[in-house]
């Protein structure tokens, strides 16, 4: 699919915002320490706590990746939007200086 600059900026912004939302949603996927057996006795509970910590750190990393990449895409969308706006201005100016010959 071919985009105009402003169209591409709009799509990038949408993807970036969806990623930012995904960051929050991913963090909420932690089923909690009990699902890993973290409340168990002795070494069983210790292993459950280790496994939960591993999964929780992984979810935190996925969440940060999504938030950071979402911000990157929105930032590029802003830059692209400015560039596209500038292009449109130049196009309009050129059209005004060179009116069509009847």
């Amino acid at each position: 699919m071919t985009y105009t600059l402003t169209g591409a900026a709009r799509v990038l912004r949408g993807t970036g915002e969806a990623l930012s939302d995904a960051g929050a949603a991913i963090a909420a996927l932690d089923p909690g320490p009990w699902a890993f057996g973290a409340g168990g006795p002795g070494a069983l509970g210790g292993l459950g706590r280790d496994l939960h910590a591993l999964f929780q750190r992984a979810l935190d990393a996925r969440s940060r990746e999504a938030a950071a990449h979402g911000a990157r895409l929105v930032s590029v969308a802003d830059a692209l939007g400015h560039a596209g706006g500038g292009y449109d201005d130049v196009d309009a100016d050129a059209g005004a200086r060179q009116p069509e010959v009847p």
Binding site: P41, L44, L51, L54, F55, R62, R64, R72, V76
Partner: protein, 231 residues
């Protein structure tokens, strides 16, 4: 309902007697149950109750949600090819390609692949619990039909006041039988713990945060030049 869910209620009373025997009557000094009690820090009845109470379904649910999100990353739009010539257009195309690659590949590493790896980790933990439950169920099936189980019926039940008279009526063979049952059940739990520790070590290095590494060209800036050419 798996085998452990069926066997645990049947074995509960036996396991209580095993625990009570270990706590009140002890076990022969050289019996392997002592090492297993030290290794696991839990009694046989508590170990069985723990595995019987674990529900791995929330882990599988989390894994499915993570894979759905990875699908979303792989279908997300990041426009790369634009009708934009010149240095600014090339800089944009290079940077956008880097952004898309970081999100969903191709290549060995991307945000989508890290999501899938995290989902695989959750599934592995759920599978580990299923294997552990199967191990415990096999151990319970063995001990429930063993001669030791018959002998342990003469041991005091949990909560029974253990007086000298009660202890006198417990034969030495019953004490050894309780230790044997405890050792069999704890050995199954110890194998599960070892298996789980291997799983933890295997996943630990591969779930860290993925850093964004753009290519050689500088990221797009809003002041980048636009070169307008006639169509």
């Amino acid at each position: 309902m798996d085998a452990l869910a069926r066997l645990e209620p049947v074995a509960r009373e036996l396991m209580r007697r095993v625990d009570a025997a270990l706590v009140t009557l002890g076990a022969p000094v050289e019996h392997p149950v002592w090492g297993l009690l030290r290794r696991l820090g839990t009694t046989p009845a508590d170990a069985v109750a723990f595995f019987a109470g674990v529900d791995p379904r929330p882990l599988a649910d989390a894994a499915a949600a993570l894979r759905d999100q990875a699908d979303g990353y792989e279908t997300a739009e990041v426009p790369v090819e634009l009708p934009w010539r010149g240095t600014a257009g090339e800089t944009y195309a290079t940077h956008a390609a880097d952004l898309r690659k970081h999100l969903a590949g191709p290549g060995d590493d991307s945000m989508a692949q890290r999501l899938r790896a995290t989902a695989d980790c959750a599934d592995d933990v759920a599978d580990w619990y299923r294997r552990a439950r199967d191990r415990l169920a096999r151990a319970l099936a063995e001990v429930l039909t063993s001669a030791q189980a018959v002998a342990v019926r003469s041991c005091p039940a949990a909560g029974e006041v253990v007086t000298a008279r009660v202890m006198d009526r417990v034969p030495a063979t019953a004490v050894v039988a309780a230790a044997d049952i405890g050792a069999r059940v704890l050995a199954a739990a110890a194998e599960a713990v070892t298996d789980g520790e291997v799983l933890h070590h295997r996943w630990r290095p591969s779930l860290g945060e993925l850093a964004f590494r753009p290519g050689a060209q500088a990221p797009l800036r809003s002041e980048a030049t636009i070169e307008v050419r006639p169509a």
